[in-house]
Amino acid sequence: MRTRLSAAAPQVAVLGPLALVMGSRAGLSLEQIDDLAMAIELVVRHRRDERGAEFWAEPGSLEVFISEVDQAWLEQHLGMLAVLVSETELDAGGVRLRVNV
């Protein structure tokens, strides 16, 4: 699932419920879904920019890519993101978050 959000869009309000639905499809636990939603919220709240988000769900794992994220800010917050999700990777000007069951 892929979406493009304008700077003015309520990004947290859109991406949180998407994480819930996609996490449910992937069979993640409620706490894992919630932690992922918090990680997404942390990233998109950092700065109001137009950005894209992509979700890939498969049984046992969910991956989310959020584009247009300030890399210096990301590097500073990798520690927090690593607590919330299984894997975090800086990629092509964005961040890839992965949660495994």
């Binding site: 869009a9 309520p10 819930l20 636990s29 409620l30 109001r48 520690g79």
Partner: protein, 237 residues
Amino acid sequence: MSEPAELLAGRVARGDDAAAEELVDAMRPLVSSMATRFQGRVPRSDLEQAGVVGLLRAAATFDAEHGTPFGGYAAPFVMGEMLTCVRQQSAPVRVPRSVAENERAVAATVDLLTSEHGRSPTVAEIAERAKLDEEAVLDALRASMAARPVSLDEIEPERFGETDETLEAVERRLELGTRLDRLDRRSRVVLVLRFGMELSQREIAERLGISQMHVSRLLRAAMAEIADEGEDDAPSG
């Protein structure tokens, strides 16, 4: 020299997306200044997003021929959207009765399954135990995510046992600098338990004597504060 806001607004009204971005950048000081009036009541980033919506609504109906400066014309639109944002987030979230009933059933089922299995349940497990379909569980969880956090004051103070030295050590490790200083001590403790000591939401819930869903709301509120503080530090481009 940048184009006057009045001309940019005219281009926005004609559907020019690039002009919309320029206008938002040009009017950012106005939006930021107006957001300051409501600071502390809702996250600053939400206020500023609402302000941008107000700006764009104003641009859609602005007529430069009347001679009114765009800033003066737009201010009531920006204020209106911010007030709506404050009202929506300050008032209890109103959900249909069936969703509210399911929300209570789901919360109770989550606690029950967490206690039985020693781990957080999946949506499918909640649906099966609560005898609801998964869509109804997802609706209830969405409503729960949107709910306001309950005050930390309800938690017994002795449960926040960390010393100031422990808090400071973990804050340094998180490299969040002085931003945590601006949060109240109990919010700092919840963040430190999660990110410093890496306790799961379930473990924090047990330690503080509250539900995992309550911990989730507290963490979300504290993290929103941190993210908003970070936004202040970020370059505006």
